[in-house]
Every structure is written in C-alpha cells, then in structure tokens.
Subunit: 122 residues, 4 copies
C-alpha cells in the first residue's frame, strides 16, 4: 500500500482538517492539549490492570480495537502538531536515539542499575 | 538517509531497550503511562502561552529544540508501546482516517458548525 | 452542612471503595494514573476553546455540570491517593505556598517579568 | 492551625497570584492544562514502579517529599481553577459521592464483579 508512510498520513490529516475548516482550532497549544488528552485515554484502558493483565489487552477483540484506536488518535495529533510547526518527527526521534545512545552507554551487566536509576536517568 | 522510517526507528528503540535490560519495565501499562507523561511535558511548554505565542515557539532555538525533543519522546514511547503489543501504528492511523472521512463528511460551507460541534463530535 | 470538609470526604471515599472491594485496585500507582486521566478529561472540555470562551464555560448549565463533575473526579482521586499513602493534602499545600512565597517574592511592578519567566520559574 | 481549610488555602492562592500579576495567565483553560501537567508529574514518579514498589514510595524521605510536593501542585491548580470559575470543589465532590452511591450499589459479595466492570463502570 502506498499510503503507509508518515509523510502521506500527515498530508492526509492536513487535507482532512482543511476541508472541514478546522485549521483555526489547530494552534500548536490546542494540538498539544489534544495529544495529551488522547494519551490519557489510552492510559485509561490500563489504569486498573495489573502488569500481567496489561500484557494481554490485545487478546479481546473489543479491547484490541479500542487500544489501536487510541494509538491512532495519539499519532494523528502528534503528526498534526508537527505539521503546523514544521517539525520532522522521524528526524527528531532519530536524533534523540543518537543522543541517548551516547548518554546511556550499554551497562556492564555485572553491575545492574537500581530501578530508580532507570527512572531518573531517562 | 535509510533509517528514517517508522519500522527502522521502532527496531532501534527495541534494540536500545534490550541492550540495557529495560524490557521488564516496558509493560504496556508502564509505556502508556510514560507516553502520557511525555505528552504532558510537551503541553507544559505551551501552558501559559496565548494562541499567538504558541504559534511562534519554533522561533527561539532553545524552545524549538525543547519542543522537538518532547515530540521525539512522545513518538518513542508510542512506538515502544506498539512494539510490545504488536500494533502497526501507521495502519491504525490510516484506518482511523478512513473511518473519520465517513463519520465527518465535508460540511456545507454555508452552514458552518458551532464550535462545540467541533469539540463533541471528534 | 457538617460533611463539607476534606477529612470527612476522604473518609467517605475510603468507605465507598472498601464496601465495593475496590481496595486491591487502589495502589498509589493506579490512583496516580486515574488522577491523571481525570485531569485530562477536565482539560478535554477546554481543548478547542479560545481563552475567552474558556472563561464562559459555566454559563451553559450542561457544560457547567460537566466541569463540576470532572473537578469532583480529580479531587476524589487526589484524596484517595493521599489516603492510601497517609499524605495530608492541605498541609502539603500550605507548606508549598509558604515555600513559594519565599521563592517568588512579590516583584517590583516597574520591572514586570517576561512571560517566559512566569513559565520557567514555577 | 487555623489556615488548614480549603477556603483559606484557596484565598491564599488567589492573593499569591494577584500580588504577582499572574491573573492574566490564569484562564480556566490554562489552569486546566497546568493541572493536567502536574498530575502527570505525580504519575511520573510511579511510571516504572511495580504495584508493590508504588506502595512504598513514602519510605524514602526524598521520594516522600517529591510526592507530597506534586500533591500540593495538583491541589493548588485545582483550587485556582475552581476559584476563577466559582466552583465549590467540596460540594461538587460531596454531590458526586451521593450520585455514585446510587449508581454503584454495594455489590452482593457472592457475585464479585469482573475486573473490567470495575474499569468500565466508573
């Protein structure tokens, strides 16, 4: 399928919003708020689940669909946010991984980090 | 550049986590929480800005870098979430746009929607 | 009315959860996630509004009720979170205001801060 | 101590913002965004913890202080939000508990709900 790359999807989203006159609503601030709201809706699916239950959410078709739908919403607002500010999301991520490979060298397995290192260092 | 597609970035992120023994932390629930936290960090940049100021955040290099960095973090956790659950984020988004094109037909410009329709119908 | 203090409401919430056997779900982590989700639901009401529209949300009874309902949800999870961890929310806030009065002295009105100072310093 | 009630704290917060000329920033929309950001900062403390670790966060003084500090921030923005919109947070919560006691009758212990009922019904 030809459309499954980020640039094409980003253009489809921009055309979609334009055709519906939604552009005045799509300030960077509003899109950042909407992105945050959609991320919370994804989290809501997991909020009462144990870690083990959370690993099995795709087993029930209804929940699997809901999860994929929220993933789509998060990605949609992220790409629309990048569109209005001229950010290349894939380049930003690639450069971030480059920086993180430098910041977090592969650890010596004989000295595993404390759980809190995991948290605080990221 | 060959690496700038979603699949390659997703594999780099998986290898990065694996090399650092972070996989036990990467339950779907934890990754959804981390995604939500990063989305809020992006929103934090905008929280006191007017709509007009929010449109100019890329003009200052320091703020522009911070915005791109948070975009990278959001995308990183979204792709890691999709990795552990076997979700294809681009397909999910493409199918969502298909559904939305059906749900939200291009409006008759002579009868523009109320602002609240914009909000409630999405 | 005698029940309108924080301690009484916190006890009512604890009894409510206990009577329904919800305590196993109420880990601090889950309650923090639920609090974050409810805060996002409150934000959702405002995400497409202009600053001016956001100041008038209480004029429509339906929206006013929705706003008050989300406020109640946020406060409910905040108090339940404090209950399970033994935190006194009012004392924590009072001490925070004390610290902030020291950290942010009342400014000289002849040298107003830049908008970004507002953001970065809090 | 006389100051430890919600009304007094809400007035202190309003005076604090007023003395620093922060009121123009305190639109309901901005305060809802800030509330959501602070709730995410509280969640961040827990994002990589197991349920068991999350129950012990108050054992380390440094983490305990951080948790209490984020609780204070969440409550501060919630009360400032209520202040600008004229909402009585305690009344809103009390009425919500009343409604929930009606909506979620104490269950028959011989037929415990499924975990998902817990999630979807709240």
């Amino acid at each position: 399928m030809t459309e499954l790359d980020v640039q094409t999807l980003q253009r489809r989203l921009a055309a979609f919003a334009s055709a519906r006159d939604w552009e005045p609503y799509h300030t960077p601030k509003n899109l950042a708020a909407a992105l945050s709201v959609e991320a919370a809706e994804l989290l809501e699916i997991f909020q009462w689940l144990t870690p083990e239950q959370s690993a099995r959410v795709m087993e029930r078709p209804e929940t699997a669909h809901r999860v994929a739908d929220e993933v789509a919403d998060v990605l949609a607002y992220l790409l629309q946010f990048c569109e209005v500010l001229g950010i290349d999301a894939l380049t930003a991520l690639s450069e971030k991984i480059d920086r993180n490979e430098f910041r977090f060298p592969v650890p010596d397995r004989r000295n595993p980090p404390e759980p809190d290192d995991r948290h605080s260092s990221e």
